[in-house]
């Protein structure tokens, strides 16, 4: 097919434009790595070529007329203005083509809807603006935030290879297993998409949707949220790591152990320096997108934290807002999303960064007690 020729043509045409080493001139959909995505790809190509063929015929006739039937060429106009046979033909023939196209499309759709007999069930929850993955069978879960730094986004640092498509905790799945996804959302509608799997499903608050995939090739696959979900819609990537079964099992054990460790962290005695260090990292992933890395916020929607009396004075209110959120605003309840250690660290950080030098600290244990004694 002509993709190579087209690519060469576009490349030639694009020589005048600067190109980054990272950038490529991908023209077409990629076949992906699952049965579904391959079926979709072949449907896509079939329809594309049918359209190209129809286009060649229709535009061919048209350009023939444009070139040959010009008044300037001395062409005299004909006077016909109807022909029942032709008109019937060009109604029936497209209809038949459509029926031919509908058959494989229907088969693919039926297959995509077959979520039965899954090996693993994973619940995906969309939040503004991150994903949460819950491994239902193993009873653990975690949030997945974009890992690209604000510095890269605001052009203060060089952009990394997977700019905007990197997360702190990717979804991990075993290869060769049917994974069923149960998709929902916490706040607004999101949509979970991994192009290489051919899986896209809307995450709707209060409702549960299901879809599935089976990946045979280990690797890291990237996608994005595809339903406008507010300010940082463009900054909630999906990263899926497909690993061999043994590696997956080990990873699950690690996760369970890490959850246990998290519980122990709450009990640990923390110093101000330790909390500040941890807090800075938490702030960068959980807070900086709205309140900005320098704490200046984007008033009025996202208030400044720097010099804010709630942050510099009223510790109980500060704790309450971070843990329980502010209803009706973009400030969500981080209590259920972050561990006690992270909550304590980020609050301590906010009270000491950017000249908010209160010198105050709050320990994970205090946060734990607060959450349970409210």
């Amino acid at each position: 097919m002509g993709v190579h020729a087209m690519r060469a043509g576009v490349l030639a045409g694009g020589l005048l434009l600067p190109a980054w080493s990272m950038a490529d001139w991908t023209l077409n959909m990629t076949p992906g790595v699952t049965g579904t995505s391959n079926e979709i790809f072949s449907l896509h190509m079939t329809i594309l070529w049918i359209c190209v063929a129809i286009g060649v015929v229709v535009f061919g006739v048209m350009f023939w007329s444009i070139l040959a039937h010009r008044k300037s060429e001395g062409h005299k106009p004909a006077h016909f203005h109807e022909n029942t046979a032709v008109e019937v033909a060009w109604t029936i023939i497209p209809f038949v083509i459509l029926v031919i196209m509908a058959i494989p499309a229907t088969a693919t759709l039926v297959d995509m809807y077959d979520t039965e007999e899954s090996d693993i069930d994973i619940k995906i929850t969309g939040y503004q603006w991150k994903w949460r993955y819950d491994y239902i069978n193993d009873d653990f879960g975690f949030f997945s935030n974009m890992a690209t730094s604000q510095d890269e986004i605001y052009n203060r640092a060089a952009k990394s290879e997977h700019y905007l498509l990197d997360v702190d905790n990717p979804l991990v799945i075993p290869v060769g297993k049917k994974v069923r996804f149960l998709v929902t959302a916490n706040d607004v509608i999101h949509s979970w998409w991994v192009p290489a799997f051919g899986v896209k499903k809307d995450a709707i608050p209060g409702f549960i949707n299901e879809t599935w995939t089976r990946v045979d090739e280990p690797g890291i696959y990237r996608g994005q949220c595809t339903e406008l979900c507010g300010r940082d819609h463009g900054f909630m990537p999906v990263v899926v790591k497909a690993v061999p079964q043994a590696e997956y099992d080990a990873w699950v054990q690690d996760q369970l152990a890490a959850a246990e460790l998290e519980r122990q962290l709450t009990e640990k005695e923390w110093t101000l320096e330790e909390l500040l260090e941890r807090g800075e990292r938490v702030y960068a992933t959980a807070c900086a997108a709205c309140h900005q890395a320098n704490g200046a916020g984007i008033p009025p929607t996202f208030p400044a934290l720097k010099g804010n009396p709630v942050v510099t004075e009223d510790l109980p209110a500060h704790l309450d807002i971070v843990v329980n959120g502010v209803s009706g605003t973009a400030m969500q309840a981080f209590g259920p999303q972050l561990s006690e250690a992270d909550l304590a660290a980020v609050i301590t950080y906010e009270r000491n960064a950017w000249g908010n030098n209160t010198g105050e600290m709050i320990t994970p244990k205090q946060v734990f007690d607060y959450k349970n004694q409210q």
């Binding site: 979520t115 008033p299 709630v310 209803s327």
Partner: protein, 197 residues
């Protein structure tokens, strides 16, 4: 305007009347779509929203030859601080057999709160065949500060469940229905702070 072919005002009035009737009708139709969609979903189950209390005069027949797995999920709506989870994560049942499972809820805050669980079932095709005879989702739940509760759900999977469905997932999202006087006070404090710079 004048001009000789004065349009018949009567026929204009008739066109306007018909058009306005159409406009009013379609405006009403827009709103009618809400109950229509509701009814359509009740009949077809397409949005996965399970129905209210199931009552049947004839007891449902058990189908011992078939096993269906029913899986339970629970999550909180935005800013809902309760602990909310199914005690049984998954259970295998025979169609026609009444089964009881329990959900656990805890209000860890210092004030009484009201919650409402909203059900959703996947696959949506199974919605029509999932009957609840008793459910905490039929009513709002009020929990005092620190109170915990075990909330029962009694359900029957219909024998007529299509053959190809072997697993049903019932998901509840718990929403905060309390009046949030406390929170709006804080919200106001923030906006004031903000305005002051």
């Amino acid at each position: 305007m004048t001009g000789s072919p004065q349009p018949s005002t009567r026929s204009n009035a008739r066109v306007i009347a018909w058009c306005l009737a159409g406009v009013v009708g379609m405006f009403g139709f827009g709103f009618a779509l809400v109950p229509l969609y509701e009814v359509f979903c009740d009949i077809t189950g397409i949005n996965g929203k399970t129905g209210g209390r199931y009552e049947s005069s004839v007891p449902l027949e058990r189908d011992e030859s078939r096993i269906v797995e029913v899986q339970f999920l629970a999550q909180n709506g935005p800013d809902m601080p309760w602990v909310f989870k199914p005690v049984t994560r998954s259970i295998e049942v025979h169609p026609g057999e009444p089964t009881t499972v329990v959900f656990y809820a805890e209000n860890p805050t210092a004030k009484a709160m009201v919650g409402q669980a909203v059900p959703s079932l996947a696959p949506a095709e199974g919605t029509l065949y999932f009957h609840k005879t008793e459910c905490f989702c039929f009513n709002q739940q009020t929990l005092q500060a620190g109170e915990t509760v075990q909330m029962p759900l009694v359900f029957i999977v219909d024998k007529a469940l299509p053959e190809h469905i072997h697993k049903l997932t019932l998901s509840y999202t718990l929403y905060d229905q309390s009046v949030m006087g406390e929170v709006s006070r804080i919200k106001q404090a923030i906006t004031t702070t903000n305005r002051n710079g």
